[in-house]
Amino acid sequence: MSVLKTSNLKKHYHTGAVVKAVDGIDFEVESGEFVSIVGSSGSGKSTLLHLLGGLDRPTDGTVEINGNLIYAMKDEELTIFRRRNIGFVFQSYNLIPVLSVEENILLPIQLDGNKPDMVFVDRIIETLGIADKRLSMPNQLSGGQQQRVAIARALASKPMIILADEPTGNLDSKSGMDVIGLLKVSGEKFGQTIVLITHNTEIAQMADRTVRIEDGRIVGGASK
């Protein structure tokens, strides 16, 4: 069953000349799959991720998440849909500095007015090796640890899909390996669908499947 499906997805910018950042992308992600999108900088991969995550509106084409055409929604609907169904992991960890590790992880669940399933949250925290850091503040952690908290936060609300944009971009190669390894292992453990964007082919090939994009188009590896 496909969780994510794009059809003829386009994003063109009109800044003097027309820049075709995303230029007709069709691809699908199956439930539970770990897919990487690899491309050099300027290939349009970040624009694509923003479109997949409902953070931007396309010039043309559709994005379907679990059967919902997300760009047919009004802004407010889309915001709520995104909060409930999509987890994000960014290059800059985007943790709230005045909240502890545990508070950061629970925040998206509480924002939605839900009581967190603490048994599940504990398993995530355990898996990501941050059990002894629950009460620490983000600035007391290393970059790799902060990114692990961001992954835990994304997993905790059991989203349909996790979108990770260069999650190792700010990390040395060793911590980067730890972070990607944990993303892979926890995706496996919790049956989580993950789309990872990276320019690093070594990291990309750790996914079940790699899609290569150049100049806003898929140039390889789209099929399963």
């Binding site: 911590s175 730890d178 390894g181």
Partner: protein, 280 residues
């Protein structure tokens, strides 16, 4: 249209769904109210899901016994085929006949290996085999797998170098991870014509990495994501024996231990397959 006085009802429904997720749902009242009706329906629905789950379990049981049957029932005929082919070869055959007998022996071996490997993977997938990772010294795991692979390497004139490091402890299942690492080493030896296989360990914050590096033919970039897929073999390796199940099995085992595998390679220079196990 929902009116405000129904907020209590919605809260009640929210509570019911929470209970259903937690598996503690029960009906409290039986009356003519809509809520009571919904409660009964939900109970029915949950009961149906439970039955479906049981059905799946039952079918898994059938698969398990089928695998048991296949592995048991093919044992004797396979052993006989091997035995009679050997006897046939001792009958003073002509060169042409000896060649044919040889082909039968090779195919029998291959079939035997294939059935063994398939039975193993099916057992893993259907949960007949329980992988039980326990904390253990990584050097012990490496030593065991290297010892199993040494004669194979020696026969090809390839040495396996192990770079020892400080004590590293990781979660692994001794019997099965030895097999997984052996498969990786065997693969490295198989595709290396001259040179060596090097085993090194790296300590990460969350994982212990075991790198198996060879100086073999390498894997082209497009093929890298396929390396751990079942029955996948590079087109260029048609000249080598094998069915493409060793690395798949290794991947299944390591994943079951909570770890993962990674491959990097340069065509013509060699490949590195890395095993990552959860550090203790």
């Amino acid at each position: 249209m929902i009116f405000w006085p129904d907020k209590k009802l919605l809260q009640q429904l929210d509570k019911m769904i929470d209970e259903a997720i937690a598996g503690t749902f029960h009906t409290e009242t039986y009356d003519e109210s809509l809520l009571s009706k919904i409660e009964s329906k939900m109970l029915k629905f949950l009961e149906q899901s439970r039955l479906r789950q049981e059905q799946i379990e039952g079918e898994r049981g059938h698969v398990r016994s089928l695998i048991g049957d296949i592995s048991h029932q093919t044992k004797t005929p396979l052993a006989n085929m091997a035995l009679y082919t050997q006897l046939l070869a001792e009958q003073g055959l002509t060169d042409e006949q000896a060649k044919l007998a040889d082909q039968i022996a090779i195919s029998t071996d291959k079939l035997n290996f294939l059935i063994q490997a398939l039975v193993k993977t099916s057992r893993l997938e259907s949960g007949v085999i329980k992988i039980e990772p326990k904390p253990g010294d990584v050097q012990v795991l490496i030593a065991a797998a290297v010892a199993d692979c040494e004669s194979l390497a020696a026969a090809k004139g390839i040495t396996i170098h192990v770079h020892h490091t400080s004590l590293l402890t990781a979660m692994y299942d001794e019997r099965w991870c030895t097999e997984a690492l052996f498969n990786i080493l065997e693969n490295a030896v198989k595709y290396t014509e001259n040179g060596c296989v090097i085993v090194t360990t790296t300590e990460y914050e969350m994982f212990v990495g075991i790198d198996v590096t060879d100086t073999g033919r390498g894997i082209c970039e497009d093929d890298l994501p396929k390396v751990f897929k079942r029955f996948w073999r590079a087109e260029e390796s048609a000249d080598k024996p094998g069915v493409g199940i060793g690395l798949f099995l290794a991947c299944e085992i390591i994943t079951a231990c909570g770890g993962y595998l990674k491959v990097s390679s340069r065509l013509g220079k060699g490949s590195t397959i890395s095993v990552f196990l959860t550090k203790v």
